[in-house]
């Protein structure tokens, strides 16, 4: 599974919605992301990719594309 699909699936689980329906640039808040779900998402992404996400970085993760960009940056 590629990076995007893995992240999509994880966010789908966190937000309890079908991964395919997440629009890449729509704010995740509109799908129900709040500060607690954001932590949940970050824990999932950290474990899936074996990366560390600082607290300060979380606020910038507003859309699916933001999360993909952040992960790809760390993996690069």
């Amino acid at each position: 599974m590629n990076t995007e699909q893995t992240i999509r699936n994880e966010i789908g689980l966190v937000l309890a919605m079908p991964p395919a329906e997440i629009l890449p640039d729509k704010p995740l808040v509109e799908y129900g992301l709040d500060s607690v779900r954001a932590m949940d998402m970050v824990v999932g992404v950290e474990d899936l990719f074996d990366i560390e996400v600082e607290d300060m970085e979380i606020a910038a993760l507003k859309t699916l594309n933001d999360v993909i960009g952040m992960v790809e940056n760390k993996l690069a």
Binding site: V14, S35, V36, M39, D40, V42, V43, G44
Partner: protein, 341 residues
């Protein structure tokens, strides 16, 4: 190992004490800059109990213990050991366990507290089983009791909305019927000591201290949602059992969102977790015995079920134990236990 010499431990009694004062989220709104909506959404908590000044940790522990003794039909004089898991004894010393011993009318038996944050009950139960399996003690009272709302005046709203007071106790009795502790794990990571701290260091009187509560909710959330699944895996591996052999996971009730996150990461349906945080909030070391009691009394947890209790808390600490509440007569259900048949 000589199987027939193995000493098993059965939970023969359970009791709780919860203060009568119910404090809803709407009540909390009156004293804190918070809303019912925020609390329900972020934590799953609807209400909690507040202890009065008379309802000390030891008082609540004692009431829970008396109820458990009655249920087990055991006299206080028959108890060999008392262990109390608590973060918050009234005083640095004596221990809550010693006060309970005197209050229930037990004499000369050992009594001590275990301080392991919200993991106190799992630490205490695992310890009790060790004494039981050596044959040293036959009847042990294990209690989780907390009075954390005492700290509210010195905490902020994020901390205050989470906690409630209460106590739960069980009587553990030696038996030659195969049941009881199947496996357990305990752990701690002292490098996380600052993530939850109830500070008593700046004065002899703990209530004189400034900035009593230090709390990094985010770090704790991340730690908890990870460790819950790991601790379960370790305790199951120790037990030679799989999650399918477990009827209920009884997690420490800190935040429903932690449980949901762990369920997701473990790939376990949320319905496998016994949850009652909506009623009591986080009662720290009391949360697991409160849930066990409620489950058993309501019949949702069956007397022969296998339960996986799992906790995490300040320290940081964690622990999990797999307990088969009573012998299962059909060994098909638990292939790992064929050896005793």
């Amino acid at each position: 190992m000589e199987r027939h010499n193995k000493r098993y431990g059965k939970i023969t009694g359970w009791g709780i004490y919860t203060p009568p004062k119910v404090v809803t989220n709407f009540d909390m709104e009156k004293n804190w800059d918070t809303t019912n909506e925020w609390i329900v959404q972020r934590t799953g908590i609807q209400q909690r109990r507040f202890a009065s000044e008379e309802e000390t940790t030891a008082f609540m522990a004692t009431q829970a213990a008396l109820n458990a003794l009655e249920k087990a039909d055991v006299q206080a004089s028959e108890i060999d050991l008392i262990i109390v898991g608590t973060c918050l004894a009234e005083d640095f010393t004596p221990s809550v366990a010693c006060i309970v011993q005197s209050a229930i009318g037990a004499k000369n038996i050992p009594a001590f507290d275990i301080s392991a944050g919200c993991s106190g009950f799992v630490y205490s139960l695992s310890t009790a089983y060790q004494f039981l399996s050596t044959g040293l003690y036959q009847r042990i009272l294990v209690i989780g009791a907390e009075n954390l709302t005492r700290f509210f005046e010195r905490s902020d709203r994020t901390f205050a909305v989470l906690f409630g007071d209460g106590a739960g106790a069980i009587v553990l009795e030696q038996t030659d019927q195969p049941c009881g502790l199947q496996g357990f794990t305990l752990g701690a990571d002292g490098s996380g000591q600052d993530d939850i701290r109830l500070n008593t260091s700046s004065g002899l009187n703990r209530f004189d201290a400034g900035h009593l509560v230090q709390f990094n909710g985010r770090e704790v959330f991340k730690f908890a949602s990870r460790i819950l699944g790991k601790a379960c895996d370790q305790a199951l591996a120790q037990s030679n059992l799989s999650l399918d052999d477990v009827d209920w996971i009884i997690p420490h009730q800190a935040n429903i969102r932690i449980i949901q996150s762990a369920a997701k990461n473990m790939g376990v349906p949320i319905g496998k977790f016994y949850i009652n945080i909506d009623q009591y909030g986080n009662t720290s070391s009391a949360s697991i015995p409160l849930a066990l009691f409620e489950g058993l009394e309501s019949g949702r947890i069956k007397p022969t079920d296998t339960v996986l209790m799992v906790a995490f808390g300040a320290g940081l600490t964690w622990g999990a134990c797999v307990v088969q509440l009573a012998p299962v007569l059909n060994p098909q259900l638990h292939p790992a236990q064929h050896s005793w048949a």
